[in-house]
């Protein structure tokens, strides 16, 4: 009975979130903080997993001396990596403000750090799409 109540609450939240203005806010929240949109939609377990795993990946990437790439359009691969890094909006902004993410090319772990940073951003883009699908009632 309790499970049914929880499920109907989740469905109601998803229905309410399907309005265009709310959808935009939902996607912005998901982009800013990994898992925020799933929390909003009543999927707390997934929200906690996304928040912890993606934030951990981003922080590990920084600790491994990875680089937060700049938007350098003269080098397309660097620009694409910059877009991927930006998938983690608030952690990205905090790292930039704290002067982190300069990257040390000579460090043994530099490429690993880049991989963790880039993949955390790309995975958060998938999480945003998932939240959108949930809000639209497709999942």
């Amino acid at each position: 009975m309790n499970g049914m109540a929880t499920k109907s609450t989740t469905v109601e939240r998803a229905r309410a979130a399907a309005e265009p203005g709310t959808l935009v806010l939902l996607c912005l929240a998901a982009w800013a903080i990994p898992g925020a949109a799933h929390f909003w939609l009543g999927r707390q377990q997934k929200a906690v997993v996304f928040f912890l795993a993606l934030t951990a990946m981003f922080v590990i990437g920084l600790l491994l001396q990875g680089r937060i790439f700049p938007f350098d359009l003269s080098e397309p691969l660097v620009a694409l990596a910059a877009v991927a890094d930006l998938g983690m909006a608030i952690p990205w902004a905090l790292a930039r403000m704290a002067g982190q993410g300069a990257g040390t090319v000579t460090a043994v772990t530099y490429e690993y750090g880049n991989t963790f940073l880039i993949v955390s951003g790309l995975l958060n883009f998938l999480v945003i799409l998932d939240a959108f699908d949930v809000a639209m009632g497709r999942k």
Binding site: Q45, K46, F50, L54, V108, T109, Y112, L123, L126, V127
Partner: protein, 57 residues
């Protein structure tokens, strides 16, 4: 922390965790999918490593 194997395992664990949560709704299913994905990542990485061992020829 400069062990390549440890970093690869850590990366595989975190990516599997996120994909399992994305693809499955039930905790039991998530655990199964995540474990399978993690195993596949690690085995594939080790196999690729050994295949590339003789390179450059």
């Amino acid at each position: 922390m400069t062990s390549h194997l440890l970093l690869m395992v850590l990366f595989a664990f975190l990516v599997s965790l996120v994909f399992a949560a994305l693809l499955r709704d039930e905790p039991r299913e998530q655990l199964r999918t995540g474990a399978m994905m993690f195993g596949a990542f690690v085995v594939a990485a080790l196999a690729m490593g050994w295949l590339m061992y003789p390179l450059p020829l």
